[in-house]
Structures are given as C-alpha cells and as structure tokens.
C-alpha cells in the first residue's frame, strides 16, 4: 500500500485524498443531519449535464464561464499592470517608495468582500463594481511582492552592469527587470488566486446576472446543491488550470532555466 502511494504523482494523491474526504463528509451529513449532501459522483454527473448544455440560472454553463473569464481577465490585467508598474517604480525611486509603500500593505489587510460597499458606492450594482473589486484586491499582493523584489535586487548586479557600460535604460530593462522577475511571478501567482476568488465572491454578492459565482448562488437559492457543487468544481478546476498553465509555464521558461528548483533554496 505504501509502495502504491509512493508511485502516485503528488497531484493524484491530493485529489484522491480530497475526494475521499468529500465522500465521507457527504455520508456523514446524510447520516447525522439527514440532509442530502452532493457526493463527488453526483457533482461530476451534474457537471457533465451542464457541459452538455443544461440550463443554469437562465443561461448555459458556457455563458457563465465566458462572463466570469472575461471579468477576471479584465480585472486581473488591470491589477497586474498597475501592481507590477507600481512595484518597479517604487523599487527604483526612493521617494515614491517612502511616500507610498504602506498603502499596498494596508490594502492587503482588507478582505475582498469588504470592498462591496465601496464598489457599489463608486460604480453602482453591476459589471464595473465587480471589476473594481477584482482589480483592487489583486493589486495589493502583486504590488507588495514586486516592490519587495525590486528593493532587494542585488546591488552588485547593478554595479556589474554599470561597470560594463550599461546606461539607465539597459540597467532597467536588462538587469533590474529580470532580477525582479521571481518576485513578479510570485506576485502574479498570489494575485491570480486572489482575483479569481474575489471574482466569484463579487458575482455572488454584487449581482452580475451571469457568471460562475452568480450561478452558484442562484442554484443554492433553488436548492439545486449538485449544480452549486458543480460550479465550485468548475471554479476550482479553472483556477488550478490558470495557475499551472500561465504561471508555471512562465516559470519554466525563465526561473527554472536560470536556477533549477533544487538549487533555489
């Protein structure tokens, strides 16, 4: 049995454990509370039905999926661009860092859903409020990570480049930027997860009319828990996919070649 575990890939083992815990929880809830709790099999079957085109909160799953992805991509792009630019600028310009570095730290402490009243006051109910929540929530972790990396760029690398004849432009684009890349990727990874979680929460609360978060809460109101769970599974799978495909691919193309994982620590 131990040998079998050892041979399993790490992710497979995690999935098996998660599904087992879920199955046990479903049995336990039914046994002790008498409430039907969707099992992994029921959820999987409902997901297949939804993928086959079954209606969910007035639209197909694909419409909800597309809406969520569009909102996420827009909000995350705004957060990523502003967070990376801010972090790099504050890392290079001491006065900017001194004046502003506490702001992203402060924003980091605000939970995504706490932005709901601010978002509604600023933009009213709807699309723009959701985008604001995604962008403002993901900005903070990206900015903090990039600023931390930019401030700690090895001075000797900058000096080496200056000594080799680098001017300000070369210094920024060919030394400072690649030296900060590990922190940029780390910030994007955290920001990606944050923005995806806030998107779903914002869709549930702000009232977007479409989206995975919206359909999840609508299914719950109609006591269609299997569909709610199917939405959760879809949200989880998409988030996992983006983290693995986007960020890991970027890391493989850069950091893993510069210093393999075994030598980083």
């Amino acid at each position: 049995m131990t040998g079998l575990f050892r041979k399993m890939p790490k992710s497979t083992l995690s999935i098996v454990l998660l599904l087992t815990a879920w199955r046990l929880a479903a049995e336990g809830v039914l046994l002790f509370r008498g409430v039907p709790f969707p099992t992994p099999e029921e959820t999987f079957l409902r997901l297949l039905e939804l993928l086959a085109g079954k209606n969910l909160a007035g639209h197909s799953l694909y419409v909800h999926l597309f809406s969520s992805l569009r909102r996420w991509a827009t909000g995350f792009a705004v957060a990523a661009a502003s967070g990376v630019l801010y972090g790099l600028a504050a890392g290079r310009v001491r006065a900017l860092e001194r004046a502003t570095s506490e702001i992203p730290q402060f924003l980091l402490l605000i939970p995504g859903l706490a932005w709901v009243p601010v978002a509604i006051l600023l933009f009213g109910i709807g699309e723009r409020a959701t985008l604001f929540m995604i962008a403002v929530s993901a900005f903070a972790p990206i900015a903090v990570s990039v600023l931390g990396g930019a401030k700690n760029v090895d001075t000797r690398l900058l000096r080496a480049a200056q000594m080799l004849g680098a001017g300000e432009g070369t210094l920024f684009f060919h030394v400072f930027l690649p030296a900060t890349l590990p922190s940029i990727l780390s910030g994007l990874r955290i920001g990606l997860g944050t923005s995806w979680r806030v998107l779903v929460a914002a869709e549930m609360v702000v009232g977007s009319g479409t989206g995975l978060g919206y359909s999840l809460i609508q299914a719950r109101w109609t006591l269609d828990y299997a569909s709610s769970f199917a939405c959760i599974a879809a949200i989880c799978l998409i988030g996992f996919f983006f983290e693995r495909v986007l960020i890991r691919r970027l890391e493989r193309g850069t950091l893993d070649r510069w210093a393999p994982v075994s030598e980083k620590g």
Binding site: D154, R156, L157, R159, A160, A161, Q162, M163, L164, G165, A166, T170, H174, V175, P178, A179, L181, T254, R257, W258, A259, P260, E263
Partner: protein
C-alpha cells in the same frame, strides 16, 4: 595612471555620527603596474576599490584616472568581484557578450569575440551555453574575467576574486591572471587579505592598517616567475607581514584567517 589625492571616506552610522574608513590617503598607481591592496577585514580595501571603480564618491579628496576625476563606473575600469556576480538569467556566452553589445558589437563579430574569450579563459563552447548556476566557483570567475577582459579595460580592479576557491584552482587562476597581465600590461589593482597572494602577484603592495589613515606602500623586489617556496619569497612575505604601518591586534588577526602566521607588533 590612477591618482588618489588626500582621499577621505566615511560612512554614516545609525546614531547620526559617521565612521571614517579611509583618511588622508594619497596613492599613485602607474600604467601597467600590478598593485595589491593588503589588510585585515574592515580596513577599507573594498571601499578603496569602489572609489576607483566609481561605485562610490569620496567624502573628501579626489580620485583621478588619467587626469580625469572619476565620477561613475566605466568599462575602462573593469571590476572582478569576489563572487563573480554573473547575470543568472543569461548564459555564459551572453554574460560575456553583455558589455560587448553595449560597445556596439553585434552579429558575427560579437560571436567571434565571445568565442575567443571563452577560449582564452579555457572555457568550451559547451560551457558558453550553460547558465551560471551550472558553473563551479573557478569557472564562474573565469567567465567574470572573460567578461571584463573582452572589453579591453585600461585598469582591472579585482576584489578578492579567488579567495573563495580551493588552493589548486586559486593558484591556477593566479597563473592565468599573470599570463594575461604580462601579455596586455593592463593596470591591475588587486584586493586581498592573503600575504602570500600579494607577494606572489604584485609589483607593489599597499598595506592598510585597521585604523583609517594608517597606510603605506611596499615594493615587492622579486623577479618573475616567482617561486612560492624560495627563500626570497618567504623573506618577502615576512617583510610584508612586518611592514604594516601599525601593530595588528589579536582581534584583527582572528577576523582575518588569511593573514596566516600573525603579525609582529
């Protein structure tokens, strides 16, 4: 020619005071000379090198290179750092090409020059395709040397470049450095805290005492090639040890394991 005129350098402390590191230092280094700077840890060896490199400015006094005051780093005063300081995101070949590209070299000429300097430093084309993390300490320092020698600097400033290497590699690289210096007659300023290294490499040694302002230069009256086991060489080492401008206390000695054998008061 490198000239230091009444150079004073201090660094600010947290309590508002400042700590002098170099005081009233006058020094002239002739073109083509090999000068070693020898002294215990914290005596200002690296600070002095940084002033000549243009990484920092003197608090008072002037540092001149060929009659012009040094105000910034430049390829004509190339630096080899203690830890190679290669750009980890560039392959060995691209590290060597970095400064050459900034001098406007490109295409076939650039490739040829990179290949030539790989060969000069005993590196293969295969090594050229590696990233710095895959190199040993000795190989990294070869690349670091190739990177600056390719720029044909007028002065080579070396900050304990071989101190972290094993004895065999260190001695081999010392030989290669002497061979290159003999061929090119580039001015070399070589920081070390090894008496033997200073006696073996230099024409003249600047002895820096632990107190700012206590410095003197001592010529090394040995013909090349030098024999590390000869009576003359051992006598020169002893003379250098005894030639410090002030007694080096036991505490200083404890912090400088390379000042082997201790100092006579």
């Amino acid at each position: 020619m490198i000239v230091l005129e009444r150079v004073f350098k201090s660094f600010p402390l947290d309590d508002g005071r400042s700590e002098p590191v170099l005081s009233d230092l006058n020094l002239t280094v002739s073109e083509g000379e090999f000068l070693a700077i020898l002294g215990p840890s914290g005596c200002g060896k690296t600070t002095l090198l940084n002033l000549i490199a243009g990484f920092t400015a003197p608090t008072r006094g002037r540092v001149l290179f060929n009659g012009t005051e040094i105000d910034r780093p430049a390829p004509e005063r190339a630096v080899v750092f203690q830890d190679a300081v290669l750009f980890p995101w560039l392959t060995v070949s691209r590290n060597i090409a970095f400064g050459l590209k900034l001098q406007g070299l490109k295409g076939k000429n650039l490739d040829e020059k990179v290949s030539r300097y790989l060969a000069i430093m005993g590196l293969t084309e295969e090594d050229g395709a590696k990233y710095p993390h895959a190199l040993s300490g000795g190989m990294s320092q070869r690349v670091s040397l190739a990177r600056v020698l390719a720029l044909k600097p007028k002065a080579l400033l070396m900050d304990e470049p071989f101190s972290s290497l094993d004895v065999d590699t260190r001695e081999r690289l010392q030989e290669e450095l002497l061979r290159l210096w003999a061929a090119r007659r580039t001015t070399v300023i070589y920081v070390t805290h090894s008496v033997e290294e200073a006696a073996y490499l230099a024409d003249r040694v600047l002895l820096l005492g632990p107190s700012p302002g206590r410095a003197r230069t001592v010529p090394v009256p040995l013909k090349r090639p030098r024999n590390r086991r000869s009576e003359e060489f051992l006598a020169t080492k002893e003379a250098l040890r005894g030639g410090f401008p002030e007694p080096l206390c036991c505490a200083t000695f404890r912090h400088s394991p390379h000042l082997e054998g201790g100092f006579r008061p």
